[in-house]
Amino acid sequence: MAMNYNSKDEVDGGPPCAPGGTAKSRRPDNTAFKQQRLPAWQPILTAGTVLPTFFIIGLIFIPIGIGIFVTSNNIREIEIDYTGTEPSSPCNKCLSPDVTPCFCTINFTLEKSFEGNVFMYYGLSNFYQNHRRYVKSRDDSQLNGDSSALLNPSKECEPYRRNEDKPIAPCGAIANSMFNDTLELFLIGNDSSPTPITLKKKGIAWWTDKNVKFRNPPGGETLEERFKGTTKPVNWLNPVYMLDSDPDNNGFINEDFIVWMRTAALPTFRKLYRLIERKSDLHPTLPAGRYYLNITYNYPVHSFDGRKRMILSTISWMGGKNPFLGIAYIAIGSISFLLGVVLLVINHKYRNSSNTADITI
């Protein structure tokens, strides 16, 4: 940008200084700050600065956009809706609340093999995890293992604060509505017996959540003792200390629980459910072929027109599939480039008419 450095030599400060001004003189100090003469850079939007900016931004954004787009397209992703609202769906039977527990199986085929680590998500739609009433209905002190909060949860948790005169652990609507479908994946190999895919339960939550934010209450030998005096959330089948057999994944630090407690931004969201780790470099993690998904259908979404999905996805350097960002970058880059051209033309047209003689005042 056009620069002008207001140097101090410009100073020709006001009236001549009275020689030997007395100490009591009320003469203001002749400093650059007080005289508003601080050295400064006075940028103006000139053609020389603005046009290159647009071209450069265009030239940077378009490749980035293409890169993102290509990366995003290379990501393998499959999404299976198992809500079961269609009568043909195998899970249709589970819509009625009487059938508990309800099991259903959905078959699907992977056209291409999934390389590298594969992530298994469950997705919910029309589920307002970002509703204010819902978001605040938790007690972070309790989840952090605070003993007093454990037995006396925050008022925010109402109406899931106490049940039958016992404090609920974990309290609140978020915990109460925890996703409790169980998903299992099986590869139908060439041989008739299906191979179960190993689904890793741990490593799906943020390290900070697992180690800082969520902690089991202290004291006691067993987890059950630590949660003594509390009761399970109303909708839960098991108390919190029975979420998993692994003591490192039980209680408040159960990762499924932690993932659920990290509320989503939008009413349509997906949450990490399991990891399918790459076994070796030679074999794809999920080879192309036929699979089936075993679902223990517990979670009711039909009442609010929600949808449930299971998603399998690989990831890249920039995360999962994200077509928007790539397209947006390409679009903005192109627009910027075009704008640069338009501005160039306009500037060329008007350039001649700007000189000092122009100043009419």
């Binding site: 939007l45 993102i68 939008l266």
Partner: protein, 1226 residues
């Protein structure tokens, strides 16, 4: 024609004594101005006032009662109370109430959508800053108070004088003051060490006049109250008016020893004055503390607000309405959503069976809280801070510092700065403002012969001639420059009797006080004219040495002679002359008189040989813009004097209409005068006045000169300062009157008196083109604006408001008159504003204020009044901005002004540089402020479409708390303080840059809505781009895809970067502090965020900091950074493109100048056009001025007190004059 008009306007009109009819007083004028503003006056009050007016004007409210040495008699007013900070006292009560209500709303659990700290922290911060500012002010004031309160003086307690602190002084105390003491309260002078209980006071702190004034005690108190014992037993009872702010007025009576004595201002010593030349004096405290006149004066300031303030308030109201509408819309949305979705979502069950509409209602309040940041909480305090800073820059400006007097410019109010950039009309006083008010004796005409040109002793004119050497005169002061050696020759030779007589008159006929210090003579004159004349006489060998009450001592070319003063016939604005009657040591009685030529010529003896020559000389002097006075004398027979003296005595003890009676008596003796000659005094223009005026004119600022001076003087000054030029067509009062008359007729024909209801037709009064100026006298102003007539009719009406019928008739006619008056006023203003210059002369202070008010009212333009004297106070207070020149006339104008500096020429820098900068800064600041709050807040609005309108915030609570306080405030504050589009030099070089402010181009409703739109679009981009990116995506490690907290962090980061870059784009003057603050704010944001999201703080406060780990986890993801970059780019690129386009296609003048800054700088050797003085080119008739303002006559009117005092004594004199005199003299 010319002379005819003169006689018409000056003689006849001025014979209606304006100055006396509408006496100067703050109270009255302010009340009246307010009356005009207030539309409805309660009937009761009006009735009361009418009754009151019917009573005798004086004695009106003598309800204040004081009993000497009896403190308990009077209910005590408290001594100065200093107010410390208190929320209630805060200026922005409405704004603070709003946030208080918000806080209360937040306390309701069902409504509370934000954490308690999100509004409390900013509010506390804002209140804290306000409190600190107030506290600093208060502490400074308190310190000063304390210093003042702890000064000591002597008070009678238990019959003895004891040292007491000022704050202990109470009404009714008898106190003793010593030489050079400050007077602690308004006191009644009882006695002093001087003969006749005279007491000299210096009133500099009150009105800035450095000359001494003398006060005199009542004869009876002088006689009986000299000793401590008598003072201790003094039990006089004073009944007087309630405390008021009129410095020059006091009415009351002293009841003592069963007699009553009238009291007036001459017996009152006012707080703030200093005792001089008097060893000690005794007084009775009448008003103490806050009741003193100086306190009443300083306390009464009109609270001024700027146009932008009003605009800003309306905008805040607009935003408030938008807030309510948006909240209501979202609340309806929420009710609908609850009915459609929420009720079926089992996971949202909250145990309360609230209906959707009830939930909607609650959410309305919830959204009011969430969106409260739309109404910017820190707006007012930020504006205050910026204005304060700008005021300091004004104070610090070296180029507005006057080193000769060591006076820097001073912004006395810190709330009006940006208005300085919007001035349309300047109303300037003349004397002391445009002119230096330093009078120098230039020329004189003695006996028809003109002296004062450059010439040697033998009357030969030389251009290069040395100054006259006054070394022969031991009293000469050396500073006096005179070039006519012939005059000296004349004086020394004594060939012409008149020459000596002339200077003797100058030495004797005046009211100057002399102060002799180590042989140095020090004159204290009330008016600079008088000072100049007496000093001139001194240099020419006639030195005024000393005066007592009845004598005056003159050194006449070395011989000292003492004359008895028989009478001083004082000056007032009607008489326009003063005389002195003396008795020479030889016993002759003589009257010496000096005055304006018009009045003197009327009173001359028929046989005056030099009459015509002097008249010619006056014309010559006048055309050189010199101020002239005529001098004359008269011999009086002893018998004649004795006869006159009797009448004089009678008149001076008259109880009613004393002044009129005296004037009549004076008139009798001031006749058949013999003309001696005339003096010519130069009234110098201040430096740079013509340049300043032409600069301001180029900036499209209209300058009106309002002066108490005479038309001719004013016109001359108009030419001298290039307000008027040769090709200006000058219109006078009667031209205007006829123009307005025809216009009124036309309007009446069109739509009757109520023409204002007809659609306003704007037709110019003058044909287009041509330079026009208006010169109008105060009397014409009254004539045109029907001021006088209404007054007269009011009085008439007041007399007979008996029957109901009459009453109705009266109100009807009054209303009709009002309408007519309004129409005329509007017409006059329209007409006057078509002229390029307007000069109003012979206007009273009240009229000055009225003119300003008229323009303010009918033109809706921003006005600035500049003046230096007490007579400008009204106008300074009335105008949007008042500027005081801290110069010759004193401090009163400065005390009531908003800005003050020492020289008129600084006005151009104040307006064109500081005003313009302030305006631009403030506008940019406000635009940006509204933008940034909308961009910030409306993200919640867009988010609400995706969260069931549940008032869920799009950001972390802490971010909301700190956004306005930390993340986005400093850069904009600094821009508001430091930004400059073009440098000060270029601002001055291109005054046309100023018009942006006058036309409100930078901040108006359109700009405001553009800012809002910009904010709205930014908020959309800020929300929807991350939304697009978040719809599907997951993180790099597959974890926590699209969770709320990461989303909030993404938007917040994009927002902070965008708004800070945006202010970077808005800043046109990047100093290192700006750069530091912009990048610092962004860095601060990330720093604080990482802290608040850290593990440590979560362990300490798990519930308050819930975003643990979000920053580190989210900002590790490349796609989040890519989203942020994209968002910022999309927000800023269009702005850059649009700005660039508008700069290329429609560049503003300032853009052009900025673009060519370098080249312009190269042309630094720009020649300032030399202003050519075209004075004296035509035979313009000029001024005969003498003490043209009432303020000048103060000392002379104190002279009146001598006379009054002497009145009873002179009764004795009538029998045995000589004997008595000898006694007094010794």
């Amino acid at each position: 024609m010319n002379t005819e008009r003169d006689s018409e306007t000056t003689f006849e009109e001025d014979s209606q004594p304006n100055d006396e009819v509408v006496p100067y007083s703050d109270d009255e004028t302010e009340d009246e101005l307010e009356d005009q503003e207030s539309t409805v006056e309660p009937e009761q009050i009006r009735a009361n006032r009418e009754v009151e007016d019917n009573r005798e004007p004086f004695r009106k409210d003598c309800t204040w009662q004081v009993k000497a040495n009896n403190r308990k008699y009077h209910e005590q007013p408290q001594f100065m109370n200093t107010k410390f900070f208190c929320i209630k006292e805060s200026k922005y009560r409405a704004a603070n109430m709003y946030f208080l209500v918000l806080l209360i709303l937040q306390a309701i659990p069902q409504i509370s959508t934000l954490a308690w700290y999100t509004t409390l922290v900013p509010l506390l911060l804002v209140l804290g800053i306000t409190a600190i500012k107030d506290l600093v002010d208060d502490v400074a004031r308190h310190k000063m108070d304390k210093e003042v309160n702890n000064r000591t003086c002597e008070v009678i307690k238990d019959g003895r004088f004891k040292i007491a602190k000022w704050k202990e002084i109470q009404v009714g105390d008898v106190i003793r003051l010593k030489k050079n003491d400050f007077i602690p309260a308004d006191i009644l002078l009882l006695s002093s060490s001087e003969p006749n209980s005279l007491c000299y006071v210096e009133t500099a702190e009150l009105d800035g006049e450095t000359n001494l004034k003398f006060k005199m005690a009542l004869e009876i108190t002088d006689q009986y109250l000299q000793t401590e014992d008598t003072l201790a037993t003094f039990d006089g009872f004073v009944e007087c008016e309630e405390p008021n702010n009129r410095l020059d007025k006091f009415t009351g009576t002293l009841l003592w020893r069963k007699k009553s004595f009238p009291l007036d201002a001459d017996k009152i010593l006012l707080r703030g004055c200093v005792i001089r030349n008097t060893d000690f004096c005794h007084g009775l405290v009448i008003f103490a503390g806050a009741d003193t006149k100086i306190m009443k004066n300083s306390g009464k300031t009109r609270f001024k607000r700027t146009k932008i303030d009003y605009l800003m308030n309306y905008m805040v109201y607009t935003i408030f309405v938008v807030l309510i509408l948006v909240s209501a819309g979202l609340a309806i949305g929420h009710a609908y959503w609850e009915a459609q979705v929420g009720n079926y979502s089992w996971y949202l069950y909250d145990g309360e069976n609230a209906t959707p509409s009830y939930r909607g209602f609650l959410n309305f309040w919830g959204y009011i809280i969430v969106l409260n940041t739309m109404v910017p909480i820190s707006l007012y305090v930020s504006v205050e801070v910026i204005r304060l800073g700008q005021s300091h820059f004004i104070n610090w400006d070296l180029q507005m510092y006057y080193s000769e007097k060591d006076t820097p410019a001073k912004a006395r109010t810190t709330t009006l700065n940006e208005q300085l950039g919007q001035i349309h009309y300047i109303f300037s006083d003349k004397t002391g403002t445009l002119t230096q008010n330093i009078m120098t004796f230039k020329k004189c005409c003695i006996n028809g012969q003109i002296y004062g040109d450059h010439r040697d002793a033998s009357q030969h004119n030389h251009n290069k001639i040395e100054q006259v050497d006054f070394s022969w005169n031991t009293f000469a002061d050396g500073k006096f420059a005179f070039y006519d050696h012939y005059l000296i020759e004349q004086i020394q030779s004594g060939k012409e009797q008149e020459v000596r007589q002339f200077f003797f008159l100058l030495a004797v006929c005046h009211t100057v006080m002399v102060d002799r210090n180590d042989g140095q003579l020090n004159y204290q004159a009330a008016s600079p004219d008088e000072g100049a004349l007496v000093s001139a006489a001194r240099n020419f060998g006639f030195t005024f040495l000393a005066r007592t009450q009845n004598t005056i001592t003159i050194s006449e070319l070395g011989t000292e002679r003492t004359y008895s003063v028989l009478a001083i016939l004082d000056f007032n604005s009607d008489r326009k002359r003063m005389s002195i009657i003396i008795r020479t040591p030889e016993g002759n009685i003589r009257l010496y008189c000096k005055g304006a030529d018009t009045v003197i010529y009327e009173r001359l003896h028929q046989m005056n040989p030099s009459k015509q020559e002097t008249q010619d000389a006056l014309d010559i002097f006048a055309s050189e813009t010199l101020r002239t006075l005529c001098l004359c004398y008269k011999e009086i027979e002893e018998k004649e004097f004795a006869e006159w003296n009797k009448k004089f005595m009678a008149a001076s003890v008259a109880t009613t209409n004393r002044d009129e009676a005296l004037d009549k008596v004076y008139e009798e003796i001031e006749k058949d005068l013999i003309l001696l000659g005339a003096t010519a005094i130069e009234d110098k223009l201040q430096d740079g006045v013509p340049e300043t005026i032409s600069k301001l004119a180029k900036a499209d600022i209209k300058i009106w000169v309002l002066t108490g001076d005479k038309k001719e003087t004013a016109e001359n000054i108009g030419f001298a300062c290039e307000l008027l030029t040769e090709d200006t067509t000058i219109c006078y009062g009667e031209d205007i009157n006829s123009l307005i008359h025809t216009r009124m007729e036309n309007q009446r024909n069109r739509g009757g008196v109520y023409a204002k209801f007809a659609p306003p037709v704007h037709e110019p009064f003058f044909p287009a083109g041509g330079n026009r100026a208006l010169i109008i006298t105060g009397s014409w102003l009254n004539e045109i604006l029907l001021e006088k007539k209404t007054k007269r009719s009011k009085i008439l009406n007041l007399k007979f408001p008996r029957t109901e019928e009459e009453r109705r008739m009266r109100t009807q006619s009054k209303r009709r008159l009002e309408a007519k008056k309004e129409q005329r006023q509007k017409n006059f203003v329209d007409l006057a504003c078509e002229c390029s210059a307007v000069i109003c002369c012979r206007v009273t202070p009240k009229q000055k204020a009225m003119v300003v008010d008229l323009v303010k009212r009918y033109k809706k333009a921003i006005t600035l009044a500049i003046g230096d004297g007490a007579n400008d106070v009204n106008m300074i207070k009335t105008a949007h901005i008042g500027v005081g020149i801290s110069g010759q006339e004193g401090m009163q104008a400065v005390m009531s002004s908003d800005y003050s500096f020492a020289q008129f020429r600084y006005l151009q820098r104040l307006l064109l540089v500081h005003g313009r900068w302030s305006y631009i800064r403030m506008c940019k600041f406000l635009r940006y402020f509204f933008y940034k709050n909308f961009a910030f807040t409306l993200v919640h609005f867009w988010y609400s479409f995706f969260n069931g309108y549940s008032a869920q915030t799009a950001y972390e609570d802490w971010f909301i708390t700190l956004y306005n306080v930390l993340y986005s405030s400093l850069p904009v504050l600094l821009m508001g303080l430091l930004d400059q589009d073009v440098s000060d030099k270029l601002s001055l070089r291109f005054p046309g840059l100023y018009v942006v402010g006058q036309r409100d181009l930078l901040f108006n409703y359109r700009r405001f809505f553009v800012s809002l739109l910009h904010g709205i679009l930014t908020s959309m981009i800020l929300f929807f781009i991350p939304l697009g990116a978040y719809l599907q995506t997951v993180g790099q490690d597959g974890e926590a895809p699209s969770d709320y907290q990461s989303f909030a962090v993404t938007i917040a980061s994009a927002l902070v970067i965008t708004v800070n870059f945006q202010i970077g784009l808005d800043t046109s003057y990047w100093t290192f502090v700006n750069a530091f603050s912009i990048f610092g704010s962004i860095a601060l944001y990330f720093g604080i965020m990482f802290d608040f999201h850290s593990a440590g703080i979560h362990v300490l406060f798990p519930s308050a900091f819930q975003f643990t780990g979000t920053a580190s986890n989210a900002l590790r993801q490349p796609y989040i950074w890519l989203t942020i970059i994209l968002t910022v780019a999309v927000c800023l690129l269009p702005v850059i493109a649009i700005r660039f386009l508008s700069m290329t296609i429609w560049p503003s003048e300032s853009d052009k100048i900025q673009k060519h800054r370098k080249r312009l700088k190269a042309e630094e050797q720009w020649q300032r056009r030399q202003s050519v003085f075209r004075r004296g080119a035509s035979s313009r008739r000029s001024a005969y001025a003498f003490s043209h303002q009432r303020g000048y006559a103060d000392l002379i009117s104190s002279g009146r007190s001598i006379r009054k005092k002497r009145a009873p004594l002179d009764a004795i004199v009538a029998e045995g004059t000589a004997e008595y005199r000898r006694r007094v003299d010794s």
